[in-house]
Subunit: 371 residues, 2 copies
């Protein structure tokens, strides 16, 4: 099932200084599945349940302010389906258009609700669809595994099912996790991810119900858009404080589509509180900020825009995250960032090169280099 | 009822360059009321209800990690009561010790639950206690009004009851508000506050139930400590997006005990989202960051501690909040910040002078100068 890596992509684990063109890795690209993709891959009784749930049109469960056109680029739809549903359109609009070396697919599942066995079956169907309809058809694609996160045993089974397929590079940590993310309940997932060199990746957004880890719902899309960085701050705190990284020292966590510049302030605040906390502090072997910098990675879209763009560069430097920020386009969403324009002109060339590709190549090197 | 202002304090509205000593205003000091303070000030049937609820010892409803000694300085208790319950101790340990010009009392009410009329009666009792037992007894003290925030008509009545007493300088916006803070439901409160030159002040922390605007409860005090800045970010977004400041252009909001350095990142992220949002954006007359800087004020405790303290100075400058950060001690809590040590030595003298007193004097000038 493993696709052959393109010659350029094959060297990603060890970016060569001889490459004429800087690497371009895009860590946030959304393929969209439709009932026609999921149904044939679901066993009964789940096929009937899913069909019933989707009879009478798409099921819409999101309770946050909606964006026009469902949040998608107007030019990304095709006669055959909505944006993100056609690999040829994605190739033309993204991979070929910008010469993307590697794009990492994140198939968001807004509707992962129901009994555990149903959620597990849905994840299997979606992962199989990604493998067969996307990864098998373009060697530049990599993907994220959907798992039934609140059923750790079932999640581990799904991770192990794909551990040998290096085209899957990360496991999706759900924004609507029912417990705090550092809870030992989830440790079997982190253990399995670490063992197979999967990155743990969280991309909040679109979860059903009112699960943004904040009560109430915002009134404007602007608010919903920015709110996404709050749950991942809690995720980082929780995983650090619960000792996840002492237990799993090789585990790496990518926080996708959640802004960047809060990362310095969070590190400073965690260290200040930790140093005060005495015997009430969690039992850590280093400063919280050290765990953060050793284990967390951020993506560029949506990127903050100070009116002086040099302040963005300064904020990344102050946070010491220069080596851990990764370009992402968020294709095919309406707020897609072109690789040509995502970063401000004022950014130094070295920082730009790292963000556009080298950092992601380093993060995903272990799995990208598996054959 | 109005106390005479001390000669120094009387000039606070117009800080004179001739003052030999820089101003010292402390915007976060907690007096603690006990059942013996509340009971005689409650009418029936609420007195009986309150007595029943407090029979068998103090009622503890906080569901977050507890700090040793209830979160108080070990040296602040007296034989007669717990820390914060004795004005003479507060004078000795805080006002006299550091030569504080003005200290603003924030009487936190952890237990504001029950029917609206009961909550309103509790607020009245607490406000009367503050006026009689604290403000009447030391001219350096000012205070914050407790109001039944989710019953706006009752809240407005309480604001109007104290509008003529300039020793009360602000109205407490509750962290456990049942709706989003910008909701028009609360506009009568903001209207009454603006009309009487009250600052709207939010100090999250200690609310009953699971109301930190984040699901789940953190495992460690470190996490709970830092979590406080997340609800106030949502508060700022919500008030800006709902148009509170177009309706109430003179309203000022103080966010106390919620860190500082997130304020630049939030402004940059709000502006970036706003510029993209087109006709889905809230109807604002200026950039979100402009509202933020024109209406929001922050306090220093707890302060972030980058290991290079100059980074803190840079972060405040990048956020353009140099004129809106105010010193706070959080007395008598365990993590009290001494005015002598709160700010890093690397901070430029002008920024230090502003933060230690001049900024707060400017914010509270209208009410401080009322006689």
């Amino acid at each position: 099932m493993t696709a052959t890596l393109a010659p350029e992509a094959a060297r990603l684990g060890d970016p060569s200084p001889l490459r004429a063109r800087p690497l371009l890795l895009d860590v946030d690209v959304h393929p969209l599945f439709l009932p026609r993709d999921v149904l044939p891959r679901l066993p009964e009784p789940w096929r009937t349940r899913y069909a019933n749930e989707h009879s009478g049109g798409a099921r819409v469960v999101r309770d946050y302010p909606r964006w026009r056109n469902g949040g998608f680029r107007l030019d990304a739809a095709t006669p055959g389906g909505p944006p993100g549903s056609d690999i040829d359109v994605l190739r033309a609009q993204l991979l070929d258009e910008y010469g993307t070396d590697i794009a990492i697919l994140i198939p968001l599942t807004f509707e992962l609700e129901g009994p555990a066995a149903y959620k597990a079956a849905l994840c299997r169907a979606i992962n199989d669809w990604v493998a067969e309809e996307w990864l098998d058809r373009d060697p530049r694609l990599r993907a994220s595994l959907n798992v039934p996160f609140d059923s750790p045993d079932l999640a581990v089974a799904e991770i192990e099912r794909f551990a040998g397929d290096p085209r899957f590079v990360q496991v999706m940590v759900r924004g609507d996790a029912q417990s705090e993310w550092g809870d030992q309940k989830y440790w079997p997932i982190y253990r399995a991810a670490e063992a197979a060199d999967f990155v743990a990746m969280c991309h909040v957004g679109g979860e059903p119900g009112n699960r943004y880890r904040g009560s109430g719902a915002p009134s404007y899309y602007l608010e919903q858009h920015l709110w996404l960085h709050m749950p991942v701050e809690r995720l980082a705190m929780s995983m650090i404080c619960e000792g996840v990284f002492d237990e799993f020292p090789r585990l790496q966590v990518a926080l996708v589509e959640a802004c960047l510049t809060w990362s310095g302030p969070l590190q400073w605040a965690m260290d200040a509180a930790y140093e005060m906390a005495g015997n009430n502090a969690p039992q850590l072997s280093k400063l919280p900020s050290e765990y953060f910098r050793e284990h967390f990675w951020l993506s560029t879209q949506p990127i903050e825009e100070p009116d002086n763009p040099r302040h963005l560069v300064q904020a990344i430097e102050l946070a010491r995250m220069t080596d851990q920020v990764m370009f992402s386009s968020d294709y095919p969403h309406w707020d897609f960032d072109s690789p040509l324009k995502a970063l401000p002109a004022a950014m130094p060339p070295e920082m730009r090169r790292k963000i556009m590709g080298e950092n992601a190549a380093r993060l995903y090197a272990r799995r990208l280099s598996r054959r």
